[in-house]
């Protein structure tokens, strides 16, 4: 897929960590974009468009995730996704 490749570190700042509801919102948001979305926590790398995969991260408050977005709408997607993580 041609297009941009954007990477950003975000901190999980929701008290419940990357809990089910936040993860669901993230996936709903991610699905709006055509870009590939990858979420990395330490050694784990998962598909950001799959709630099942996101839940395997069990990311707690204060932990850092790296979002990697690749595709024609990568920048727009990244802004939207960062907002989901940082504002919930």
């Amino acid at each position: 897929m041609s297009g941009q490749s954007v990477e950003r570190r975000v901190e999980v700042n929701s008290e419940g960590g990357l809990h089910f509801r936040v993860a669901s919102l993230f996936v709903s948001c991610a699905e709006r974009f055509s870009s590939e979305i990858c979420v990395v926590k330490g050694e784990q790398k998962v598909n950001g468009k799959s709630i099942m995969e996101l839940m395997t991260l069990a990311a707690e408050m204060g932990q850092t995730l790296v979002l990697k977005v690749k595709g024609s709408d990568a920048e727009v997607a990244m802004e939207a996704l960062v907002e989901v993580i940082e504002n919930k």
Partner: protein
């Protein structure tokens, strides 16, 4: 966090009787309550809490699986159970498919880390098609327990 840390073996249901969302959740919560892990008189409240959580967004995460859950003060520690529905239940899942495998989780209100770890462990194993397939085929509590034990010994959910 492993299944043996929170799944109450005696509460596991190999053949759920309920045929809709509310009936299944009622049955699962009642099973956990019957094993004495929930404060008396709180069953209705917990069922209500789980259903309310479902209203915010279905926990049917696809592949015929759902992870209904809630945080509730009536439990001292994380407790959960597994239920199987041969017929498949409409759970408004993300992929529109009926649900056959239920993992219920009830956590104390302040147990964020444990709650996340438990959901993580459930998800990690459910990602593995083989685990799901074997679970779907189980017809007794003992078979389900065996599968959970194998999962805890890392037979499934291996990263590729």
């Amino acid at each position: 966090m492993k299944f043996c840390d929170f799944v109450i073996a005696e509460s596991v249901v190999a053949q759920l009787k309920g045929t809709d969302k509310e009936a299944v959740i009622t049955e699962l919560v009642s099973q956990v309550h019957a094993t004495g892990h929930v404060e008396e008189g709180q069953v209705e409240d917990i069922i209500g809490a789980v259903l309310k959580r479902e209203e915010l967004g279905s926990t049917g995460i696809g592949k015929g699986v759902a992870v209904p859950h809630t945080k509730h003060p009536s439990v001292k520690g994380l407790v959960g159970t597994v239920g199987l529905a041969q017929e498949g239940i409409d759970f408004t899942s993300v992929d529109g498919e009926p649900v056959h495998i239920f993992f219920l989780l009830i956590s104390p209100p302040d147990s964020t880390a444990d709650h996340l770890q438990a959901l993580g462990h459930i998800s990690k194993n459910l990602k593995d098609d083989q685990f799901c397939r074997f679970l779907r085929r189980a017809t007794t509590r003992e078979q389900i327990q065996e599968l959970l034990d194998e999962a805890d010994n890392q037979k499934f959910g291996v990263q590729d």
